[in-house]
Symmetry: C2
Subunit: 366 residues, 2 copies
């Protein structure tokens, strides 16, 4: 019995209530919940309710300050820099992207960078916020250093995701990916499965390619060198310097332009202090938004219709798999790992909440 299935509605009610118990106002809890559950709906299980307890721990240790009041420290009609004051990443990011959207609706573009923040969930959530308003949305964040630059043996960049969303029919383009070849969660999965990793994923403490997930994870945990490779692996001939380059672009639009901490200096002295970047672009800067959307939708359909490789029956455009996952999970429930359920239940009981009020007797026997 590895997973239990919960309905989206029940999970939402539970998460909103428990984030209130963690010290957030109801409106704030709703925002945080919305970010986490979009991740669960989209099939990005690593960034959903699975993280609930981790956020709680970070609130307890003071890494995240629930009562932080973010401050806009620099602003122009099309840009801003926000100091998150060590608050919850989702909250400052929600406000930052809304500010970018407001600027884009008024002036064509809005670019907002954020410093001194915490983990903000999936990058794509904020790109989607802009996309839902008919804009192109871009969202990036740096993270704890985990990615080793080409020819190095120490992690200097984060998983540094870049997310871009743009309106299209029948569903938007939604691209959300780390610039490292994979994230740490994938190594943890391979460890669990006792599976050998592809030789473009990890480096050991000497900077040598290593396909043993537990070993690479140990190297990362011990901060003794090693880590995850950029997209493109370890060698220039496989494009390592390109993934490293995309990681740098993420760093430029998060930590550099906000003058915050670069990935290699975050998560130190009990503070995360990571940085984000948000851009909203109004397609009306380039012509009729409906015509642009139709042009884009037609190209996406051409991609789906292109001849398939032997053994493949479908070509996906970015965001399609997320839509498929969401439709399934809204209809059939969201599967949550039993250990995560135990954590959620234990945490709820600690706050005097009755788990069965939310989920019935589904978790009675765990």
């Amino acid at each position: 019995m590895a997973d239990l299935k919960f309905s989206y509605e029940n999970l939402k009610k539970f998460c909103v209530d428990i984030f209130c118990k963690f010290g957030f106002e109801e409106k704030q809890s709703e925002i945080i919940t919305d970010v986490l559950l979009l991740s669960d709906l989209y099939g990005i299980d690593s960034h959903g309710t699975q993280r609930l307890l981790r956020y709680y721990k970070h609130l307890q240790t003071g890494l995240i300050k629930a009562d932080a009041k973010a401050e806009t420290v620099f602003e122009t009609p099309i840009s801003a820099v926000i100091d998150a004051k060590e608050g919850m990443g989702q909250l400052v990011s929600y406000d930052a992207m809304n500010l970018a959207i407001e600027k884009a609706e008024k002036s064509g573009i809005g670019m907002v960078t954020v410093k001194n923040s915490n983990h903000y969930g999936i990058a794509g959530y904020y790109a989607k916020m802009a996309c839902d308003k008919g804009l192109i949305g871009i969202s990036v964040t740096n993270t704890e250093a985990i990615m080793v630059p080409t020819f190095a043996r120490k992690a200097m960049l984060g998983s540094n995701p870049i997310a871009v969303a743009m309106p299209a029919d029948p569903y938007p383009f939604f691209f959300d990916a780390s610039t490292s070849v994979v994230t740490r969660g994938k190594l943890e999965l391979y460890k669990k499965l006792e599976k050998e990793m592809p030789d473009c994923w990890g480096l050991d403490a000497d900077g040598k390619v290593n396909t043993n997930a537990p070993h690479v994870l140990d190297c990362i945990a011990a901060h003794k060198g090693g880590g995850i490779l950029p997209l493109g692996g370890a060698y220039e001939k496989t494009g390592s310097h390109k993934g490293y380059g995309y990681g740098m672009l993420c760093e430029i639009f998060s930590s550099i332009l906000s003058q915050g901490l670069t990935s290699d200096k975050t998560y130190s002295d009990g503070k995360a202090l990571i940085c984000h970047g948000f851009i909203a672009i109004n397609p009306n800067l380039f012509g009729d938004p409906d015509a642009i959307k139709a042009h884009f939708s037609s190209f996406l359909q051409d991609l789906r219709n292109a001849p398939k490789a032997d053994g493949c029956d479908r070509i996906y455009t970015h965001g399609e798999k997320e839509i498929i996952a969401m439709e399934d999970r809204l209809a059939n429930g969201i599967a949550i790992n039993i250990n995560t359920v135990k954590e959620m239940k234990g945490c709820a009981e600690g706050f005097g909440m009755n788990f069965s009020d939310y989920f019935g007797n589904i978790a009675d026997n765990i």
Copy 2:
């Protein structure tokens, strides 16, 4: 005797004169020459004088129209769309990036897309133009379809480079890379060397991974399917969908926002009609440009100083290799392949130019 060395100054004088013979005005010839020779100086030999004859052929067949007058078809204070009217890619791109720079200097950002254009040389040239003015420069272009999306067997995207340059000391950050794992030139090199390709580079006509460069090149030439893989190779586990995604970002900022032709529809009926995108961002949108530059420079130095992988003695930041190549080539000359020299000489003589007026007797015996 595979290469001959020429001085930058002599090559420059020659190229300016020969582009005048091709039908361009002197100022135009200087711009085209500057783009080509930066490529040679930076060590990107595939995009320099090596291409001279190809441009000439494209002018002869009418693919490129030397007398085209590009037209701005849409404009706002921070954006524009230009119709290149099938003119020389370098010329419309030079003007387009200058327009983006002008807007960025006045309003913080300039974003210019171009449609109905031709090959524009290295993407990085235009990113560098903005960087030379203290701005962040971004340049993208779509190309003839050469990249096969994940799970497909037909090329639908171009090599779709993304270039980004940003001021830093002692030299700028300069990232210029195709979003395909390699470009066609790399396959041609492997064919020449009779070397087996890595298994993340090419697909055959059935969409199966193939490591034989001549075979994959034949598939591409015959338009019977197959092509070059995205950065990340053929499989999702190695990040194929990510390279495909970056290729899509390039397409969005070139062909989609300009409403021009996507890569899969270019180079048809004797017309190229490719699209470019140029963005200049003023760092003063985020604070003091000098402070941002210092912050960035310090991070780049930290990257260079990071512990090296076993067997590696240097970590490069993006643009460093280009600076090293340029210093060498300015001091010691630019090596040009003997076949390219023959082409240049033959072409010059066809126009009644005396090759030795430019290069002395260096090419007398070829």
